[in-house]
């Protein structure tokens, strides 16, 4: 037993001395497990995983904005849309661009538009920014139509063959697996790797000097200013990072769905993203993952509820049930458990571990 503790302590020392490397190892291990899993799952599950992955990236971005700097954006679906259209337009003109570059373009375009919209945010507080981003969400349709010659206007912009599994990937599997399954698998793998990269980056940002500065801005902006943090910089940076993540999520979502359409990136989606963030848990990595999973499976679960309770299929209640549940959960979570599911789990785990705590020698610090 004591040998086990010694290993545990050694690991803890390693974690404290090399936090970045420690996170990198964790990310690589988790991503490898997830990628391995996708090869054994059905095409449907792979598709859902990919969708959930896109959404968890967007939620993570909003989580950073809200959790680290205390601002709320109601326009993140529109930033997703920016990334989605940028990706689709680029991919239509340059069909041979590697997927990683295409995703980067999505993220960068989201960041660029985020900078434009976020600049006034330097001087605004809470509700003003939320209202302004709401206005941005409403105007996204008009913006897409305005650039109709690029975006294709009302019709969804189709993606060329970029999202198809490359030959080296196909060759690895037996030829009995249908190509559709392989494509879904490929997409899920891309999504998982992207999630890994973006979560790794965020975990480091959260615990970096910048992340700490932002949390101080959130908790007490006057104190932050007094210790020399530039409020405008911190606020704009948070907003740009969140927009970049939204853009990346949108770009990935375009790969998964095969097209970009402004009707997807409506105000409704923005509000859904906010609900998922709050339900999952603001300011935590696991909360963003939980939110993504909830998004991916919400349709399935709601169909199940509709089937079980005997609500008329396709009726008014069934159609509005998702938003009734999300809206209700949003209000209740915020009033009862403001840290969401992730926070509740952490608190519960804390209680349990306090009860069963093993008394050990305190570690020598150093």
């Amino acid at each position: 037993m004591s040998a086990l503790f010694r290993v545990g302590d050694a690991l803890r020392v390693y974690r404290d001395r090399h936090p970045v490397l420690w996170r990198l190892i964790w990310t690589v291990v988790l991503v490898a497990i997830a990628v391995y899993m996708t090869t054994h799952l059905s095409a449907t599950t792979d598709g859902l995983l990919a969708t959930g992955a896109c959404m968890s990236i967007v939620i993570l971005g909003l989580s950073f904005l809200t959790g680290a700097s205390g601002q709320v954006s109601l326009g993140n679906a529109a930033f997703m849309g920016v990334g989605a259209y940028a990706t689709a337009i680029w991919a239509n003109h340059h069909t041979t661009t590697p997927v990683a570059v295409v995703l980067l373009i999505g993220a960068l375009s989201g960041a660029a538009v985020g900078l434009l919209i976020g600049l006034p945010a330097t001087r605004l507080r809470g509700p003003y920014l939320a209202g302004m981003t709401l206005l941005f969400a409403i105007s996204f349709e008009g913006i897409v139509l305005f650039f109709g010659s690029w975006t294709g206007g009302d019709a969804p912009l189709q993606l060329p063959t970029i999202a198809v599994a490359p030959q080296w990937f196909v060759d690895r599997f037996s030829s009995s697996i249908p190509l559709f399954t392989l494509n879904q698998m490929w997409l899920a793998d891309i999504a998982i790797v992207t999630v890994g990269v973006s979560f790794f980056f965020m975990a480091n940002l959260f615990r970096s000097r910048t992340g700490r500065a932002m949390r101080l801005v959130r908790d007490n902006d006057v104190a932050a200013e007094l210790v020399g943090i530039s409020l405008p910089h911190a606020r704009v940076l948070a907003f740009v990072v969140s927009a970049a993540y939204a853009g990346l999520g949108g770009a990935l979502y375009t790969l998964v769905t095969g097209n970009a359409s402004y009707s997807t990136y409506s105000l409704g989606l923005s509000i859904t993203i906010l609900s998922l963030l709050v339900i999952g848990g603001i300011g935590t990595l696991s909360g963003a993952l939980i939110g993504g999973v909830i998004f991916a499976y919400s349709t399935t679960w709601i169909d199940w509820i509709v089937g079980k309770t005997g609500i008329t299929q396709g009726g008014n209640l069934a159609a509005n049930l998702p938003n009734i549940i999300f809206g209700g959960l949003l209000v209740i979570t915020m009033l009862v458990a403001p840290y969401g599911i992730a926070g509740a789990i952490k608190m519960g785990a804390g209680k349990v571990s306090r009860r069963f705590r093993v008394t050990r020698m305190p570690m020598a610090s150093g």
Binding site: G70, P120, M132, V222, I271, P322, G327
Partner: protein, 297 residues
């Protein structure tokens, strides 16, 4: 002169005023809530819409139109009071984002509930006041009896609220509990009640705006989303603290949008409004009509 009165430019001005009146009223209702509780009510449009559905639903039971209007407004006022008592009261002193998230949640919930009960198919209302435009020597003037009703109602509401705040003891108490809740409490003002009353008043004004808007455009659960956002923009441009600012910038916004929609392109009205808001807030973050406030640490 007739050619000018029935011409494009003047008609647009009249259309703009008719829209602006509604934007102004919504902005005013947001300002009322902001002044009393420092919360921006994102569910304002949906709550007013809910009240309108409740009231106007009586039309199919052969209840007179004006009774339905009265029921709507009462429903709005009650809904406002209930929301403050049951939801908002738990949020005072919470971090800034909590009320925002809760109100957005309420928006989502209410719109879905409305969709579940009344479906999202638009419903028209037949008003006893005609919205056919008056003719001037055979040409339509951009003015109808309904426009006059809109303007009249808005002026009545604005004057009523103004008189309440300026000349009555209740108004004084309302203002006092918004500015200095602690002191007011010491002086015997029931501050809690005043906050509830602020929400009730605000929702009353919001419901009037929703009634006017829906009488022309019909009822759908999400009908108020767009106009609510313009109302917010107007309130923010006016400075969120200033009722006069809200009314004036609502009118300006309405007229601007009418001209833009006619001469340029109505798809880009939201974006143009966003740009206007950004520019105004970059120059004067506290809004056009508010004095600069210094935050006390």
């Amino acid at each position: 002169m007739d050619a000018f009165l029935t011409g494009r430019a003047f008609s647009d001005l009249l259309f703009g005023i008719a829209d602006g009146v509604i934007i102004s009223l919504i902005a005013l209702s947001l300002v009322l809530i902001w002044r009393s509780t420092h919360i921006l009510n994102f569910a304002q449009g949906a709550m007013a819409m809910f009240a309108v559905y409740l009231g106007m639903g009586l039309l199919s039971y052969n209840v007179g139109f004006w009774w339905c209007v009265l029921v709507s407004i009462v429903a709005g006022v009650v809904l406002g009071g209930l929301t403050e008592r049951l939801l908002v009261r738990r949020l005072y002193g919470a971090p800034e984002i909590n009320p925002i998230v809760v109100m957005v949640g309420l928006l989502l919930l209410l719109e879905a509930v409305m969709g579940a009960i009344w479906s999202s198919t638009p419903r028209g209302i037949t008003t006893p006041v005609s919205s056919n435009y008056w003719q001037l020597h055979g040409l339509p003037l951009g003015l109808s009896p309904f426009t006059m009703l809109e303007i009249g109602a808005a002026i009545a509401v604005a004057l009523g609220i103004g008189a309440l705040f300026k000349f009555t003891k209740l108004g004084l108490q309302l203002r006092a509990s918004a500015v200095a809740p602690e002191v007011s409490r010491l002086l015997g003002v029931r501050v809690g009640r005043m906050l509830t009353l602020g929400w009730m008043l605000s929702l009353g004004v919001g419901t009037v705006a929703a009634l006017l808007f829906c009488s022309v455009n019909g009822l759908t659960p999400t009908q108020m989303d767009g106009i609510f956002v313009y109302g917010f923009a107007a309130a923010a441009i006016g400075g969120l603290e200033s009722p006069t600012g809200a009314l004036v910038s609502g009118m300006v916004l309405g007229v601007m949008q009418a001209y833009m929609g006619d001469y340029y392109n109505s798809n880009d009205i939201p974006f143009a409004t966003l740009m206007l808001l950004i520019i105004v807030l970059m120059i004067r973050p506290q809004g056009v009509f508010s004095k600069k406030i210094t935050r006390r640490v």
